[in-house]
């Protein structure tokens, strides 16, 4: 978001210049003697731009503007059914029930989904960013076969989250017995070399911790985080690597003259120079993480684990849409919106501080 506003401000400056140029242009057209009909025709023609934006506006009115209003209004309707439009009274009943997990439908639990989403996001985003940083530094420091490494590391860039999730699930899956042979999955075999007992990573007996009514299925967390790091790395490497490549070589030459070590160069030159990119990656990563859904479905199926124990906030909405409980879905979507707004707000504050510090 922060980046967008930057570009908007820039384009506004261009606009202003353009307007000024227009004002300075001699008013040759639009002479003084015009009939009334001609005047109206000209006025209409000058507004013909509206004609061009109308199709987009109509579609946006139906599928963008109306849903925003509807989400705010309908989430306060108690027992709201989207299809019939019936509801019994206004109030915050939906929110209370969603937060309490008292929806009476056997669907996902909001607090569980919220905890899952937050934990997964705030573990996987920093880890993958640090890993991307390490890989980019390594990639930047080699001269030979750099292109080949680059190509292979970028390959997971464009993948179908659900399809590759299924592949990752096979790595961790204990398939059971076939022809009298126990199958424990590749990851368990590799861990077995280090003396780790087989763990049911994605199955029904997957280990978890209980905290009150919450369950923390840590094994499934690890699977999800590994998958998210794998699928998120290429984009991060791409951004960081191209940022490193565009650093002015003179800084490095100066450091060399001063006899700086590799490590000093990394922390005193490279890291500060790519700080904007790192913060951009953290922000987009957290934003994307809050909206994660398809990775979990790819790994654990449409039911998001067992009793929705791997549910995410977006998964919560879809779950309640499918259950026909639109009131709860609206309330959930509004809370997701508020959480994302809070993160945006915090991010804006932090970035402002950083820029003034510079």
């Amino acid at each position: 978001m922060e980046e967008n506003t930057g570009i908007v401000a820039e384009s506004e400056a261009v606009e202003k210049k353009r307007r000024k140029a227009k004002a300075e242009r001699p008013a040759g057209d639009g002479g003084p003697q015009l009939s009334r009909g001609e005047k109206i025709r000209r006025a209409l023609r000058s507004q013909s731009g509206w004609l061009f934006v109308t199709p987009a506006l109509i579609l946006m009115a139906v599928f963008t503007f109306y849903p925003i209003i509807a989400a705010f209004v309908n989430s306060f309707k108690q027992g709201y059914s989207g299809m019939t439009g019936k509801f019994n009274g206004w109030g915050i009943d939906n929110f209370v029930r969603v937060l309490k997990g008292d929806t009476g439908t056997g669907g996902a639990n909001f607090v569980q989904c919220l905890v899952n989403t937050l934990l997964l996001t705030f573990i996987s985003v920093p880890v993958s960013t640090i890993l991307a940083l390490l890989i980019s530094v390594a990639l930047n420091s080699i001269k030979r076969v750099q292109k080949a490494y680059q190509t292979i590391l970028f390959l997971p860039y464009l993948t179908n989250a659900l399809a590759m999730g299924a592949v990752f699930a096979t790595f961790f899956k204990i398939i059971g017995t076939a022809s009298n042979t126990e199958t424990v999955g590749i990851v368990n075999i590799v861990l077995g070399w280090f003396g780790v007992k087989p763990i049911d990573w994605v199955g029904l007996t997957s280990p978890h911790w209980k905290i009150g009514s919450l369950s923390i299925p840590w094994a499934k967390y690890i699977v999800t985080i590994v998958y998210e790091i794998w699928s998120g790395l290429p984009f991060k490497i791409l951004i960081l690597f191209s940022a490193m490549q565009s650093i002015n070589k003179q800084y490095y030459d100066a450091a060399k003259v001063d006899g700086a070590s590799r490590w000093t160069v990394l922390w005193k030159i490279t890291a500060p120079m790519i700080m904007p990119q790192i913060s951009y990656l953290l922000v987009t990563g957290i934003m994307g993480g809050m909206k994660q859904y398809s990775a979990v479905v790819g790994l654990f199926g449409a039911t998001m684990g067992q009793d929705y124990d791997m549910g995410t906030m977006v998964g919560y909405l879809y779950n309640y849409i499918e259950l026909g409980q639109t009131g709860y879905a609206f309330a959930g979507s509004l809370m997701l919106f508020v959480i994302i707004m809070i993160i945006t707000f915090i991010n804006n504050k932090l970035t402002k501080k950083r820029t003034t510090y510079k």
């Binding site: 390594a138 292979i152 464009l158 060399k256 977006v314």
Partner: protein
């Protein structure tokens, strides 16, 4: 049983041997390379060398020579470590693709062996033949691969083409025309980008259901035709075209439409290509919306791949694992991997050939499709 065990040990042998050879070859290759790089660099110390430092000033005297040698050894060790790190990362990055490809042609028995084989012993290409004839059956509707592929292509092409027309027209108006309230309108459009798309889904679901649009292509295309981000991208591109070009075109007697088609569109072609590709990829990867609003026979390819694939008696009486009476009961992972390949490979090929355009689009938006 004994037969299987024998195969097992062979499989393990393969796995270990290939890994060991790969690692050894990697280390030797890296060592040779780094020595060669070093020798090259000794002659000319290039100013652009970033990672490698040659601290010695010159070779005067025996001690300096020795120190230089020690420095060089250190440098080689460091380089080898860097290459090993990168090789491990590259292998891990590539591993899922390899495993997906290999699993898709294995037999289910081989796939489920306690020690998996690194390379298939028997190539069962019939897996692919099988998934093409797989029928996902829910509430009396059938979704075959052919049907699903047609759905995806029709929706992808239509939504890409119509969306592109809409984006170009809107971006043109916002960039080149002047009308009252233009800036406010544009600001409002941009503001909607801040709101997560999931907020719209609930209402849109109700809207299309009330309009009886379920189970159609329209419902998959219409809600996503307008993309504010692409309009914004193209508008900025349009605004970079200098006004003098417009005046020149006017002098040459080109109409506004002619100017748009013959000057503006060719000049912004890279952006248009990026938008086209990303829209198509977005359609290819769409999952939740089709699942919500359409029955399986109207869904898209990603929905198809999430279904369970089982052994089945084919029309000609053939079945892979002796299923009788229609369907086998257990989902087969090898068939699923074949389906995953069918979905992933087009994307991979597209990425290899159109890397520049796709990366351009994504690195600007930070999102895929």
């Amino acid at each position: 049983m004994t037969n299987l065990l024998a195969v097992n040990s062979v499989g393990e042998g393969w796995f270990v041997a290939v890994m060991v050879i790969l690692i050894l070859a990697g280390i030797v290759g890296i060592f040779v390379l780094s020595v060669r790089v070093d020798r090259l660099r000794r002659g000319t110390v290039s100013a652009s060398a970033i990672g490698q430092w040659d601290l010695s000033a010159g070779d005067e005297g025996f001690d300096a020579e020795k120190a230089k040698k020690r420095e060089k050894a250190k440098h080689i060790v460091k380089n080898v470590l860097v290459y090993i790190f990168l090789t491990v990362c590259a292998v891990l990055a590539f591993m899922p693709f390899y495993w997906m490809l290999m699993s898709s042609v294995k037999t289910e028995e081989e796939f489920r062996m306690s020690v998996p084989t690194f390379f298939p012993h028997t190539f069962q290409w019939k897996n692919y033949w099988m998934i093409f004839h797989q029928v996902t059956s829910t509430s009396g509707t059938n979704a075959t691969f052919g049907q699903i592929l047609i759905n995806t292509l029709v929706v992808g092409l239509l939504s890409t083409f119509l969306g592109l027309v809409l984006i170009v027209v809107t971006a043109y108006a916002l960039a080149r025309m002047n009308f009252k309230g233009k800036n406010i309108l544009f600001a409002i459009m941009l503001a909607t980008m801040m709101i997560p798309g999931e907020l719209f889904t609930v209402s849109n679901y109700i809207t299309v259901a009330k309009a009886h649009m379920n189970n159609s292509y329209t419902v998959l295309i219409l809600p996503f035709l307008v993309s504010v981000y692409y309009i914004y991208l193209l508008r900025n591109n349009f605004m970079q075209i200098p006004d003098s070009l417009y005046q020149a075109a006017k002098v040459d007697g080109l109409s506004d439409l002619g100017y748009l088609l013959k000057v503006m569109l060719p000049l912004t072609a890279p952006t248009l290509v990026s938008i086209t590709l990303l829209r198509f990829i977005g359609t290819w990867n769409s999952y939740i919306w089709p699942r919500l609003v359409n029955i399986p026979s109207w869904q898209m390819i990603t929905n198809w791949v999430t279904g369970g694939f089982v052994d089945r008696v084919q029309p000609d009486g053939f079945s892979l694992y002796g299923a009788t009476g229609g369907y086998g009961s257990t989902p087969l992972d090898t068939l699923k991997m074949a389906a995953v390949c069918m979905v992933s490979l087009p994307l991979l090929i597209l990425f290899i050939f159109c890397r520049k355009y796709i990366m351009r689009g994504i690195s600007k938006s930070g999102t895929k499709g």
